[in-house]
Symmetry: C2
Subunit: 461 residues, 2 copies
């Protein structure tokens, strides 16, 4: 395939008109990006270090500090024009060491331990835990209909499953996640004593999936945990047989004072339009379990790889290309917010920001959020250049959490779109580890981002 493509392109350079010839140059350049990434890519070995030697790295943790220093050193080695840290104060929540949950006082089962994980940001239970009856609901609406009388003093169990019929699993996640983010406060308002949430997962297993919750202002703050999908099925089944069974929950997470941390930024200065900035980024922090491999070690190493590929091809971009490793995406978004604040204050002009935060799986395309139709059409015009690499999904569903705060009329916010089937098997679990990442899939992702950056740099957006 490679050989015939090269032949075609050489013929093109000799006898086709200018536009076609430019396209053939682009096609050759992009082919070279992929060749390099697939044969000499370094993201996989970088990710091995980040996940295996540093590991889980929640904001404020010593490991998050190690990740900052590691990312700085990795980019320092690359001979970029500038590598710097951007200060940002981050929240510091710790899980504690007493996470325990069990079904107790049931007529039909002896005490039965179940796997749970405190939701990020949850308050603790009393030191000896709490024990209460359980009320199961499928949604916040259903909870509200039950009302205070039926909820008061109970543990609310949100058990709406992931909708498996979505082809893109992120859509299923979005359809389930309100139970985790808003459920605890809504239950608290009705007098519940705790919340148990079914994991937002595409598979059935024993791993609970954690994730952030948002306590609403003024609502009582009650402890909240995620239960594994298998655990949720068991609990639901037992409740049908014995609706007076009780659930015991004990945990001691706590909030500590904010910690000084950093976004880590590397930059190649533009040769013609240095004031126009293209960002590629991922987030350096992860949850405190597993290794933060697909979420989002992969996005970090892919972003660095974009700069490394440019350097190693001797490519001098017209515009300024920045890799940003954001801090605190998981439980605060302080890094993304700070980056946009500083950019605004300094009057920086971002023309595009590409975020990789959906796992290091086989590339399928890009979502491109822009207020300008011409911008989207320009991106669409590159489809033929990207399709040979499996990048068929070019649509308007762009954006990303960390680049979101950059939003204005001039910048295209672009989400890198890898295949989504496996992501929510491991997302926010102890199972998000290096061995779940495939080398070729990861390197293809970095190459895909590099190819898009090349086109945006050359033609603007």
């Amino acid at each position: 395939m490679l050989r015939s493509l090269k032949k075609l392109t050489l013929a093109g350079l000799l006898c086709l008109p200018l536009a076609a010839s430019a396209q053939n140059q682009d096609s050759l350049h992009i082919r070279k990006i992929y060749d390099l990434a697939l044969t000499q890519g370094q993201s996989y070995e970088q990710l091995r270090y980040l996940t295996s030697r540093i590991g889980a790295r929640l904001s404020g943790s010593p490991q998050a500090a190690a990740a900052v220093e590691w990312a700085r050193q990795e980019m320092d080695k690359m001979g970029l024009d500038r590598v710097y840290l951007q200060e940002v104060m981050v929240p510091h929540w710790v899980r504690g060491d007493k996470e325990y949950a069990a079904i107790v006082n049931s007529k039909i089962t002896p005490t039965r331990e179940v796997n749970v994980l405190a939701l990020g940001g949850s308050v603790a239970t009393p030191a000896n835990g709490l024990t209460a009856e359980v009320v199961e609901v499928q949604s916040i609406d259903e909870l509200k209909k039950l009302g205070k009388k039926k909820v008061q003093g109970k543990i609310v169990f949100f058990n709406r499953p992931f909708d498996q019929t979505h082809i893109i699993t992120g859509h299923a996640y979005r359809g389930a996640v309100d139970q985790r983010s808003s459920g605890p406060s809504e239950a608290g308002k009705l007098g519940a004593v705790a919340v148990v949430v079914r994991s937002m997962a595409s598979n059935t297993d024993d791993f609970p999936h954690t994730g952030g919750l948002r306590y609403a202002d003024g609502a009582p703050r009650i402890p909240a945990v995620a239960i594994s999908t298998k655990g949720a099925d068991v609990l639901s089944k037992l409740l049908k047989e014995d609706d007076k069974l009780q659930f015991h929950l004990r945990m001691n997470p706590q909030w500590l004072p904010d910690v000084l941390s950093y976004n880590v930024i590397g930059e190649i200065k533009g040769s013609e339009k240095p004031d126009e900035i293209i960002v590629v980024g991922g987030h350096l922090d992860s949850w405190d379990i597993g290794e933060g491999a697909h979420d989002d070690g992969t996005g970090c190493v892919q972003s660095m790889e974009v700069l490394r590929l440019m350097r190693s091809m001797g490519y001098k971009p017209k515009r300024t290309i920045r890799a940003v490793m954001f801090m605190n995406e998981e439980n605060g978004l302080r890094g993304g917010t700070k980056y946009a604040e500083v950019a605004k204050k300094q009057g920086e002009k971002h023309i595009a920001a590409i975020e990789s935060d959906a796992g290091g799986f086989t590339p399928r395309g890009f979502g491109i959020a822009t207020t300008t139709e011409a911008t989207f059409q320009k991106a669409l015009s590159w489809k033929d250049l990207l399709a040979p690499y499996g990048l068929h999904d070019i649509d308007r569903n762009g954006g990303g959490a960390d680049i979101g705060p950059l939003k204005d009329d001039r910048v295209a916010l672009i989400g890198f779109r890898p295949d989504s089937q496996r992501y929510f098997d491991i997302h926010h679990t102890a199972n998000d580890t290096f061995d779940k990442v495939n080398r070729r899939e990861l390197e293809l992702g970095g190459a895909s981002m590099a190819a898009l950056v090349y086109l945006i740099d050359k033609y603007g957006l």
Copy 2:
């Protein structure tokens, strides 16, 4: 996404002209296929049984017999119009119990064991093994240039790696596999005593990848093994430092008499054109290591799922739909050959055959081999119906080993095309096990095949 699609389609049914309305009916029908597969699909649990309870199942083995009986019973349960076994005599090669290889008599290393696997069909070494110097080559051409003088009495080490720059890994496999299939005979002709082949692998690890060899008529038959990619790198490095080092190889595989086995066939009779047959198939046999999960348990359960989905939707096909689980794809192709022979003898008219034998990964499209341009264009006209499910790669590179013998001017030979990045990490290794298969990816594959069968059945091809 689902909801908006449904709305769109309902609107379409009410006010669009006939062609568009038919397309919307198709779109609804296909959506229902995927919904069912993703929520009630049975392939994953079927595959768990085949891989975990039956396991590796080389032709002629007791496990192959178990797989035949299992497939027959599975299809029997489905209430098909006909389930039957098609007799086929298969070769029976066994690996033996003495596979051992080591680098010996080297100036720079003490005896160092390396992981190898006899190639399927290889003859044995003498009972005490053989020991010889090693000559490393990158290709059969290079071997021929060395000539008898430099090869005689030696072990030939084919070490051309997988070309990582291919985006579709199957292309890299095809570019490397001649070393394994023809290398042993070419080396034998020049007086070599054995062959060691670098594994056709996309990753670097300690697992050797086996696979079939073809002894040429009249050429000396010498023992041949695959060495893991890590092992090959070590051997190559040591050879550079000490080109007189010796390699010891000991193994006792053998050929036993042919065994009676079966293709397993299930069928739903066509309501309007029962004489026109559409086949979906995979192969039931596997190599004798690992569990034959992606190669090709997945193809078997997906093929059965196509029929099951039709049944469970109450869909009555116009044409006859057959799921065929072929026997002996790996080391003889006797099942595929027999199936085509019988079809020809009975004057059966096959209009399309779809083979799934590239792993149970996320679907990306179909390769459609046909002698008729109109047939290909018809398939291409369905692109918009398939694209929402990630099926963008519709091209002419169709076919498959088992359906190959069906080739004539009337039948379209179609290869199901899953994502290829992970396949050659585990292909033909002890690592091809159930845990490498993702439930959603697998079920999406069966649904994709069912969607294509639906369109071919409805519109012909």
